[in-house]
């Protein structure tokens, strides 16, 4: 197989061709699920619980609604199992006897007139016998908490999952703490965050006794939906066809949830005997779908006088909501990222996920890492302050270097130099001069300015042995026009999947980018290349596309139909001749685990990820001590992400992630009232507008990685990790006040600044 050599000039990779589906998007012709309509289609709606936890006593259908015109589905109509399967079977498709969170689906309605549905939903009256509920990590773990989630395999009451990750031995950790110069403790909290894709969740379903279920809509992972439908309908996979339509943003919010709405729409379609569309409005989407897991991190660290981390304990707790969904894998990533890019001689990390009576929390860009990195990067600043070092110096003395091992024992072989990244970032942001300037000017000003940073890494791809289990398959076929067409279930939802995979194939095939096509994901046509998550598309799926492209080219070269030096037209002629002689031409490749990757799922030891992206993010803030508002005034993001496949898309990914990170830190607060999101409107769940964001400067260092196509690593989640701690570190620089909880809204800052002086520096 031809291998990529870094000296080879690249034709397509590293350039910025136009987004594959871009034209359709700028002229308004791209079809999202709510833009589609099928003949005879009805509309579906969901009746949801109004209590956090309880037994359903009765369901009554109120007067003044022509109920005979409706299709009504309850749990009793489910032909298979009443379950939405992700990692376990605890999550009902429709609540039958009990509800475990507010806004839990109980009953489904369909009607030809969309406008009549809200009144009908409101006319269904459900009576409950309410049961005691818990709403926070602290309440859930309290000794006298009601048992709200029980499973024989659960490690403790209300505990979905627990991980222990250790390096160095337990006894040595005790000795280290006993003899350390300093012991620094801290507690850090992060709130729930809404993905806030601008297109709400939506699905159109059809049902046919012979053909089975067919759904199309907004989603990240078509084969997850197939798997969910198989159980709900008790059908084989080939009778559960799933098609992704153009998807208006996802960020993890369309990873697990589409299995729910697809099952609901399909149940209505089965019973109504016609296509049914369910598209949530914003209020329902905000109240009823997943958010980022709230978290609490507790650090206790032994440090030497000269600023070396000697040992530590970190406890990361996540609020998983009422059902497991993807929580244990989110917890896994949170646990593995908790040590940060630092060398720990001895460390114990305990990760645990607690059940609460909130709607289940789910995937959101970063997937646990932003939570634990927030705690770690705030804690590093606390350690620095405690022992009298600058935040920079403390990090310089502890950053991982090539040849070091991470807390899972993974040897750092990437030729990354975090010291140099830090030097570059601080130079390019004029950090030292600004720090001095702000220290000089702040005392006389009501506007306090500060500059802070975070150093971090993010693992690309599924954790540990995850990619081996996914066993992804990628195909490239020759179309009737003689062009290569990539067949993957990896979806485009704005991040650039279509474009970068076509670039990779074009580069490997030595063909123009425009000549390479990619199919819309339809499980009747594309193989399972795994879910579109975990910063895995560029690196893992991209590598498979590269291999499939080489294999396709080799087939044509070996057939003698394609000359060694060929044009687009030669390729087309050869491909069509091959098809005429041998039948359809399709190259298939399956994931092969790199030989040097070993992972021990039980003890959390080994190569947690094939590769990491490394970053230093620097934030400047202005804190107005009259209004208590903190504003990020400049943001700088430097990262080493391997080869940048498409500079414009890559910068767009980083800028967009940083914007979400700024929102996470300063704007976006979910207000919970007994488990129900009370601010479930864009009017009062505030994300940054164009007027709220600072200039965002993006810089890359490119060290090609052997694991990705043409040296690429993952970048999608990385930019979510750094902004919140960098901003809060800058706020501490500006005000001398330690804020260890996000989101930090003006009212929160007011509460902190109005606290007694001993808490301030």
């Amino acid at each position: 197989m031809p291998e990529f050599s870094p000296s080879e000039p690249l034709q397509t990779v590293g350039r910025s061709p136009l987004r594959k589906e871009g034209l359709a998007k700028v002229v308004g012709q791209a079809k999202y699920v709510d833009d589609l309509s099928l003949p005879g289609m009805w509309y579906g709606a969901t009746v949801r619980s109004s209590v956090a936890r309880g037994r359903i006593r009765s369901i009554e259908f109120g007067p003044d609604i022509p109920w005979h015109e409706f299709t009504i589905v309850t749990a009793a109509d489910i032909p298979g199992e009443n379950v939405i399967v992700h990692l376990a079977k605890d999550h009902p498709c429709l609540a039958a006897t009990h509800v475990n969170h507010p806004d839990e689906p109980i009953l489904l309605l369909a009607h030809p007139d969309r406008a009549i549905l809200p009144a009908a939903v409101a006319a269904v009256r459900v009576q409950y016998e309410e049961l005691p509920a818990v709403f926070t990590i602290d309440e859930s773990e309290a000794p006298d908490a009601p048992a709200i989630w029980q499973d024989p395999a659960a490690p403790a009451k209300n505990t979905f999952k627990q991980y222990l990750m250790q390096c160095g031995d337990e006894a040595s950790l005790d000795e280290i703490f006993a003899s350390a110069d300093f012991i620094v403790e801290g507690e850090y909290r992060t709130g729930a965050q809404e993905q806030l894709y601008i297109e709400n969740n939506g699905i159109i379903a059809e049902f046919d006794r012979e053909a089975g279920v067919k759904v199309q809509g907004a989603m990240q992972c078509p084969y997850y939906v197939v798997h969910a439908l198989q159980l709900v309908f008790n059908l084989p996979a080939e009778k559960c066809r799933v098609i992704q339509t153009e998807t208006g943003g996802a960020f993890g919010g369309k990873e697990d949830f589409p299995s729910v709405i697809a099952s609901h729409a399909a149940l209505l379609a089965m019973k109504a005997g016609r296509p049914v569309k369910i598209c949530y409005d914003r209020a329902e989407d905000l109240a009823g779908t997943t958010k980022r897991h709230p978290s609490r991190s507790r650090h206790r660290t032994a440090v030497s006088r000269d600023g070396r981390l000697l040992g530590g304990t970190i406890e990361v707790a996540l609020d998983g909501g009422a059902y497991l969904t993807l929580t244990s894998t989110v917890l896994s990533r949170a646990t593995i990222h908790a040590p940060g890019p630092y060398h720990w001689p001895a460390l114990r990390v305990v990760g645990k996920a607690m059940a609460t009576n909130l709607p289940p929390h789910g995937a959101f860009r970063g997937f646990g890492a932003p939570q634990s990195i927030f705690g770690t990067e705030r804690h590093m600043n606390k350690i620095a302050r405690t022992i009298g070092l600058t935040p920079e110096e403390l990090r310089r003395r502890n950053l991982l270097r090539v040849g070091d091992r991470t807390a899972t024992g993974q040897l750092i072989t990437d030729t990354v130099d975090m010291q140099q990244l830090l030097t570059r970032a601080l130079q390019e942001t004029n950090y030292h001069a600004k720090r001095e300037e702000f220290a000089r000017t702040n005392p006389g000003s009501t506007i306090k300015r500060g500059i802070g940073f975070a150093t971090f890494f993010h693992g690309s791809g599924f954790t540990g042995s995850g990619e081996r289990r996914l066993d992804s398959l990628v195909e490239i076929e020759i179309t009737p026009e003689g062009q290569p067409c990539i067949l993957v279930s990896s979806t485009e939802f704005g991040q650039g999947t279509n474009t970068i995979l076509c670039q990779v194939a074009a580069e490997a095939l030595q063909l123009p980018y425009a000549f390479v096509q990619i199919a819309q994901p339809d499980t009747a046509r594309v193989p399972n290349s795994g879910p579109t998550v975990a910063s895995r598309t560029a690196m893992i799926v991209g590598k498979l596309v590269e291999r499939a492209a080489y294999s396709l080219r080799d087939t044509l070269l070996h057939s003698g139909l394609l000359p060694g030096d060929y044009t687009e037209q030669d390729f087309r002629t050869a491909a069509l001749a091959y098809v005429a002689q041998h039948g359809p031409l399709k190259s298939s490749v399956r994931y092969q685990s790199p030989g040097d990757i070993f992972w021990d799922d039980q003890n959390y030891r080994g190569e947690a990820y094939p590769a990491y992206a490394w970053a230093v993010y620097v934030a400047e803030v202005a804190v107005d001590t009259t209004t208590y508002s903190a504003t990020c005034t400049h943001f700088y993001a430097l990262q080493e992400v391997g080869r940048v496949l498409h500079p414009v898309l890559a910068k767009g990914q980083i800028e967009g992630g940083v914007a979400q990170g700024i929102g996470y830190a300063l704007y976006e607060k979910c207000v919970w009232q007994r488990g129900h999101m009370a601010n479930n409107q864009m009017t009062n769940y505030i994300m940054p507008t164009s007027a709220d964001l600072p200039p965002i400067e993006v810089a890359f260092e490119e060290v090609p990685s052997i694991h990705g196509p043409f040296g690429a690593k993952g970048i999608g989640e990385l930019p979510m990790d750094g902004p919140a701690p960098a901003i809060l570190n800058a706020i501490e620089e500006a005000t001398g006040i330690e804020c260890d909880e996000i989101p930090l809204l003006p009212e929160d800052l007011f509460a902190r600044m109005a606290m007694p002086q001993e808490n301030a520096r």
Binding site: L18, V26, Y32, E199, G249, F493, G494, L693
Partner: protein, 160 residues
């Protein structure tokens, strides 16, 4: 039902519609112009932005009865604003080239807001762009690529 006459993207229409039906729904359902998107239904996100007699409005907040006799431009009519039969308006071309569209769901509204902005300020500075687009939310881009697209479009228009 009321009879409403209005012009959309240069075409006259006479519609029998409930008077309080949202302009957004009339465009999407009665005229099959699905390029105009709904993001929030309460005038916060700007995905449903259209030009109503040259003003930028959230079509989710406009009852159709208020559009009697009006001239409306949706994303499907933007290319024609550059000249009859044009495939793309310079704004669309610049959004495409500069990465101003990612998932694309806010793009139609963002392009109409940009058009409105450039009518008002043909060579806007960054703060005018930030202010002018502040009613249109984008969750993907962090707006930076959009600002670049708007600036490029202003340059393109200016050099005509």
């Amino acid at each position: 039902m009321s009879t409403i006459t209005l012009t959309v993207n240069g075409e006259p229409h006479r519609l029998e519609v409930p008077p309080m039906k949202r302009l957004l729904d009339v465009l999407r359902e009665d005229l099959q112009l699905t390029g105009t998107k709904e993001g929030c239904g309460e005038g916060e996100c700007g995905s449903c932005s259209v030009l109503l007699n040259g003003d930028l409005v959230n079509s989710c907040l406009v009852p159709v009865l208020q559009t009697e006799g009006a001239t409306i431009t949706t994303i499907e009519g933007v290319a024609d604003l550059a000249g009859p039969g044009e495939r793309l308006h310079p704004i669309q071309q610049c959004f495409l080239e500069h990465g101003g569209a990612q998932c694309g769901i806010c793009t139609p509204g963002m392009i109409l807001a940009t058009h409105h902005l450039l009518e008002k300020y043909p060579q806007p500075d960054l703060s005018q762009i930030q202010e002018g687009l502040a009613g249109n939310l984008c969750r993907c881009t962090g707006y930076t690529r959009i600002f670049a697209a708007v600036q490029a479009a202003a340059r393109m228009e200016g050099s005509k």
